[in-house]
């Protein structure tokens, strides 16, 4: 028993959470008692005796679980425990439920956790569509409805789309650049374990008095500063998700910059690596803004600061500026890794080099730079200073240019190739081009101030974000999961079920989200539990497609679980791809490479006679010309 308490793990983690939460609770009670205040403050936004334990409890869990053990010993000057690699790699399924520093284990932990939240958020979407199937109120009341769509969006954005890309890249990226692991494996593990805590805080807010947060995922002040306790759960959950995101991005940046295999110059990096480099640049610089905005809201709620209270000298609109300064780049945080996945899948299955590789990489960087200068296009009707609208409109429309470059370059990649469509990954990649083009077009329309004035905050917006986030990001996620499933599990998935999933998802996405454009333009506002009877038939149709879209995801789930367990063994390189992760076994050995590979050419040299991307250990120099082994020189 004592040994179990001393050993890092679930028991010590639970104990740590309890002790830390009790400490936070005691601290609040004691300080309030000393100050002569009523011990419990249960005015609707207050509850400091709940809010503070919500901060200390998760930290206590992380400490107890073993996330800080090595660092704390080192910081305190104690002898560190020599790393015996016992925390590295997975020998049984139990190892996926431990503090593990192997990037491959962490990648799978990320993917499974985020898909859990995807299905929870999806169930909420089903409830939302059930309520909206008819005008009037049938299933949930208006307040619960507000909580449902807020939680749905927050789960999908903060604990599904953003981190699932971190999970895929975690698994694939170190292998792709020929690195034995990420640069900071312990930080990597800590980043992952903060994520389920964020998700639990979001879902746990349903237990709070007053219900889950209901001010939308945007949490605009002063609606959020005056909302019931659940809003504080959101404020804090975003901190954990954000910290996780920032730490991972730093990890990717250092890994990509310093740990590429000899010979892998910047212009020899696969586009997935470029995409994660760009995404990480966005995350490290932008995420602190949402963390700050949510802390300010939390302080307004609990400490009675007046950041966003105009009566106390605060500025209401400044919340939106800070929020969107993160949340617009966040749209690209949710899209750029997907661009990387699509490049890998299309090039491999079309057996062609990427068309205009350098321009593709530069377009990513162009999007990064431009995305910092477009945030106020979310605020064209917000009452901000009106001169800002036209410059923001121009930058917003210009961002369509690098995005267009990517679409046309993928199309160019297909020409004179040998296109194989047997893989579900390729089907999703091709459908992504179509769907994302539509989402991009509606985005350009939204960027135009006069059109935006009319359709802002209507179902047109709902249609647009789902076209780019579901038809865009989620399609790329599916493409990535199918593409690397053999590498991650060592098994093949069932292509027949994959096709059922693909066609069902495509039809469901179009059927659900295309009609939303129209009802939005025709006068249906977003975020409403009830609507005018004239939209009844359209909404019923949308709900039917949405239920089909939801149901067909169960095919995906079944395919993944059963194939992981019983699927036929995968070869090392079932897609005959060039990049390094396919040159090792499936799944890869515990330390990835016996000897670091040497990169001697570009990653997409399909059809080039005698061309090699990398020379693996034991292969000798081979036919390819030897290259100087200078790391990082372009």
């Amino acid at each position: 028993m004592v040994a179990a308490i001393k050993r890092p793990g679930w028991i010590r983690g639970a104990l740590g959470a309890l002790v830390a939460a009790a400490f936070g609770f005691g601290l609040v009670v004691a300080l309030r008692a000393i100050s002569g205040l009523p011990v419990f403050q249960t005015e609707q936004t207050g509850y400091p005796h709940v809010v503070v334990p919500l901060i200390t409890g998760p930290l206590g869990f992380l400490a107890g679980f073993g996330c800080f053990d090595y660092w704390l010993r080192w910081a305190a000057g104690m002898p560190t425990i020599p790393d015996d690699h016992s925390q590295h790699g997975a020998k049984s399924w139990r190892d996926y439920f431990r503090f593990n520093t192997d990037h491959k284990v962490i990648g799978i932990q990320y993917i499974c956790t985020t898909f859990f939240f995807f299905f929870v958020g999806g169930l909420m979407a089903m409830l939302i569509r059930a309520e909206l199937a008819q005008p009037g109120t049938q299933i949930v009341d208006a307040a619960t409805y507000n909580s449902l769509f807020s939680t749905h969006a927050v789960l999908m954005i903060f604990v599904f789309v953003i981190p699932v890309f971190a999970g895929i890249a975690n698994y694939v990226l170190p292998l792709m650049i020929g690195a034995p692991d990420m640069a900071f494996p312990r930080l990597n593990a800590l980043s992952f374990w903060m994520l389920p805590l964020a998700g639990l805080l979001f879902i746990g807010s349903f237990l709070a008095p007053g219900g889950a947060f209901d001010a939308g995922w945007t949490g605009y002040a002063p609606l959020s500063t005056g909302a019931p306790l659940g809003q504080s759960f959101f404020n804090l959950g975003v901190q954990f998700a954000g910290a996780s995101s920032i730490a991972t991005a730093l990890n990717f940046l250092v890994t990509i910059i310093t740990m590429r295999a000899p010979g892998m110059t910047f212009w020899r990096m696969p586009l997935l690596v470029w995409a994660n480099l760009s995404t990480s640049l966005l995350v490290v610089a932008a995420t602190p803004f949402i963390a700050g905005a949510q802390f300010m809201v939390l302080f307004d709620r609990v400490l009675h600061t007046q950041f966003f209270q105009f009566a106390g000298g605060g500025d209401v609109i400044s919340y939106q500026h800070i929020f969107w300064f993160y949340s617009h780049p966040a749209v690209y945080i949710m899209m750029l890794p997907g661009f990387g996945i699509i490049s890998e899948v299309i090039s491999t299955h079309a057996r062609k080099p990427i068309f205009g590789y350098r321009l593709m990489a530069l377009a990513l960087i162009g999007i990064v730079v431009l995305s910092y200068s477009v945030w106020a296009h979310h605020m064209f009707v917000a009452g901000m200073f009106s001169w800002l609208r036209v410059p923001m409109m121009i930058t917003t429309l210009l961002i369509a240019v690098p995005t267009g470059i990517k679409i046309f370059s993928w199309l160019g990649t297909l020409y004179f190739g040998k296109i194989h469509t047997y893989s579900t990954a390729m089907l999703f990649a091709l459908a992504f081009i179509v769907t994302f083009t539509i989402g991009g077009i509606s985005g350009v329309m939204l960027g135009m101030v006069p059109l935006d004035i009319h359709v802002s905050d209507t179902y047109f917006i709902v249609a647009h974000i789902h076209f780019v986030l579901f038809g865009g990001s989620v399609f790329t996620i599916f493409a990535g999961i199918y593409h690397w499933f053999p590498k991650m599990t060592g098994r093949m998935y069932d292509e027949k079920l994959g096709r059922v999933h693909f066609w069902g998802t495509l039809l469901g996405t179009w059927g659900t989200f295309i009609p939303m454009h129209w009802i939005g333009m025709d006068g249906m506002p977003r975020r409403v539990a009830d609507y005018a009877a004239q939209f009844g038939n359209w909404n019923l149709l949308i709900s039917c497609f949405a239920f089909m879209l939801g149901a067909v995801q169960l095919v995906f789930l079944y395919n993944m679980i059963v194939s992981w367990r019983f699927g036929p063994r995968a070869k090392a390189n079932p897609w005959r791809a060039n990049s390094i992760e396919w040159q090792v076994s499936s799944p890869p050995p515990i330390f990835n490479f016996d000897e670091i590979p040497r990169v001697v050419g570009g990653p997409y040299e399909y059809g080039v006679p005698g061309a090699r991307h990398a020379i693996m250990a034991g292969e000798g120099v081979g036919a390819a010309k030897p290259e100087p082994t200078v790391v990082g020189s372009p």
Binding site: A142, N146, D214, G216, Y220, P222, G226, F310, A311, V316, I317, A350, R351, K352, P353, I354, F355, G356, L359, V381, A382, G383, S386, V390, M393, L397, A400, V401, F408, L411, G412, L414, Y415, G417, K418, I419, T421, T437, I441, V444, M445, V449, P450, L451, I453, H454, D457, T458, W518, D522, P525, R526, R527, V528, D530, Y531, Y606, G607, V608, A611
Partner: protein, 264 residues
């Protein structure tokens, strides 16, 4: 490389497809009834965008499906495609042409924006007050009379709405006018509209404001000036003191006079 493609046929297919899409899409009255001078201008911009978008979409579709038809691998073919790495001319073209298209869109939008927000002489000023979950309206030119849940304006006269919120952010939207503006606590926001069709419309709150958000509506009546004068003359109540206070203390964000180039 490009020479080996049936460029003329592909372009013809693109033009044909985009014409077909445009013709079908332009039949639909997407934005609903038009009831302000701004509405036809915004809808024309939308229609121009629909035609341009139809072309871009058709181009992508033709490029995609031609490639899928022409370059699909035969079963069992394990060879690679041709090692083509790019084409500088094409890459320059698909950078520059979209740039020109979006800059045209930006310029056109800018001119529409300036047009619809241009302030005429002698507009009617109406104060809009919002709070969870009700609208009310004051008429400063008519002795600050007050009406709750019902907005009346004369037809064919420019109206300048001065908006105030008493609690959280709300948003003022009359779809038939194509005009929307948030009501923000602590500041006065402005919207300009010239209703040009007599009728009854609905004012919809479009910014999430709490559990009553979906039902936060008001009736909008556009009527001939004589009837409007009669209706205003019949209002007995004055704008209550707290609302007058919000007019006094709210800072003006949108200057009354448009700043030339930037639009209002």
């Amino acid at each position: 490389m490009i020479g080996r493609l049936p460029i003329a046929k592909m372009l013809a297919a693109t033009v044909a497809l985009s014409a077909a899409i445009s013709v079908v899409m332009l039949q639909v009255n997407w934005d609903g009834q038009q009831a302000s001078t701004a509405a036809p201008k915004i809808d024309t911009l939308l229609n121009v965008m629909i035609v341009l978008s139809a072309f871009v979409f058709s181009l992508v579709m033709v490029m995609l499906f031609y490639a899928l038809w022409k370059f699909k691998a035969k079963p069992g073919d394990e060879s690679d495609g041709e090692p083509i790495h790019g084409n500088t001319r094409l890459e320059v073209a698909w950078t520059l042409i979209p740039t020109i298209i979006v800059l045209f869109g930006a310029g056109y939008s800018w001119s529409v924006l300036n047009d619809i927000e241009e302030l005429h002489k002698n507009p009617l000023t109406v104060d809009v007050f919002s709070q969870q979950y009700a609208w009310s309206f004051g008429y400063p030119g008519k002795g600050n009379v007050w009406s709750q849940g019902e907005l009346h304006v004369p037809v064919d006269r420019q109206v300048q709405f001065k908006m105030h919120s008493q609690d959280v952010i709300h948003s003022f939207w009359v779809p038939e006018w194509r005009i929307k503006k948030d009501n923000v606590p602590g500041i006065t926001t402005t919207a300009i509209v010239t209703p040009d069709k007599v009728g009854t419309y609905q004012l919809i709150c479009t910014e999430l404001c709490g559990f009553g958000h979906a039902s936060m509506r008001a009736k909008v009546v556009v009527e001939p000036p004589a009837e409007f004068r009669k209706w205003v003359g019949g209002l007995k109540e004055k704008v209550p003191a707290p609302y007058m206070e919000s007019i006094r203390q709210d800072t003006e964000t949108n200057p009354t006079q448009p700043i030339g180039a930037g639009g209002a």
